[in-house]
């Protein structure tokens, strides 16, 4: 008994085989837990909608104000429009963003660089 007491008074701790097996099993179960992956096609849809705007603006000439109205109509406050490196509006910033860019020629064949940035969660 004295020897046992002497043994337990030493620094450190004793780990039984059962406890070790339990701990290993617990750790393995924690590792094996499936991680949640949120799958959505939101990015694809935003990209398609940005492409729609660029396609329509190239088919029908639009003023910057009209372009801004169209952007707000489709994306609300989350869409940001840049024309020739000039920012026309400030969008509500979110965690993620998708940007599309295109060059549209006007009636006098002047190039206009259009950039659309859409923020989303």
């Amino acid at each position: 008994m004295y020897l046992e007491i002497t043994f337990f008074s030493k620094k450190g701790f004793v780990f039984s085989l059962e406890a070790t097996i339990s701990l290993i099993l617990f750790v393995l179960l924690l590792i094996a837990l499936p991680t949640h992956q949120n799958s959505s096609l939101k990015e694809l849809l935003i990209l398609q909608q940005e492409n729609d705007l660029l396609r329509v603006w190239s088919a029908k000439e639009s003023s910057p104000q009209e372009m801004l109205m169209d952007t707000k109509l489709l994306f609300g406050e989350t869409g940001e429009l840049w024309i020739n490196e000039t920012q026309l509006n400030k969008a509500k910033s979110e965690k993620n963003s998708i940007a599309s860019e295109g060059i549209i020629l006007d009636n006098s064949l002047v190039e206009n660089k259009i950039r659309l940035i859409v923020y989303y969660n």
């Binding site: 059962e18 339990s22 096609l41 909608q49």
Partner: protein, 187 residues
Amino acid sequence: MNIINKLKQHPNSWTKFLAGNGSRKPKLFAWTYFKHINSKGIIFSLDAGISFSITLVTVLLFATFLAQTASSTQNEIKNFELEEKAILIADSLVKNYDENNSLLGTCILDIEKKRIRTNEISFSNLINLKPISFGEIYVESITVKTNSFQKTFQIEEKVSNDCISVRRFALIEGEKGIIEVKTCTLK
């Protein structure tokens, strides 16, 4: 005096109990004390019991978590399928031309250039809308919205609370507008 003798003198000493209180012949041997080991049955120590309980609780928690994950994944797959079909139909609507079913394409066909004018929709093409379904998923309605007009084309009238709307931007009869495809599932 050695340590064993010290322990023997203690009133509650087990060595005293085994050694027979200092007598020459011990009253009780260790084999007698632990003889039940040879009998049938199992020995279950306290730490083994606790360990077993912890393992069981962990397995229970894991099983519960798996069941919840399976349930949420099933819902996610269902929503993903619905979203996929809605996006697919909406994209086909504004990018293709189909004379048999306008739901698969309502764009203007440029015969001279022999090509489809994507994102340019003819209102007259929208009259030939026929129902289309992918299993339990179907297109309920299409809404066309511009500054001058708004019209909803009801394609199927089924009762479902699980619907999704996809909005696309297009030129509708030369006017900028939104075309909204509402897709539902019966599941």
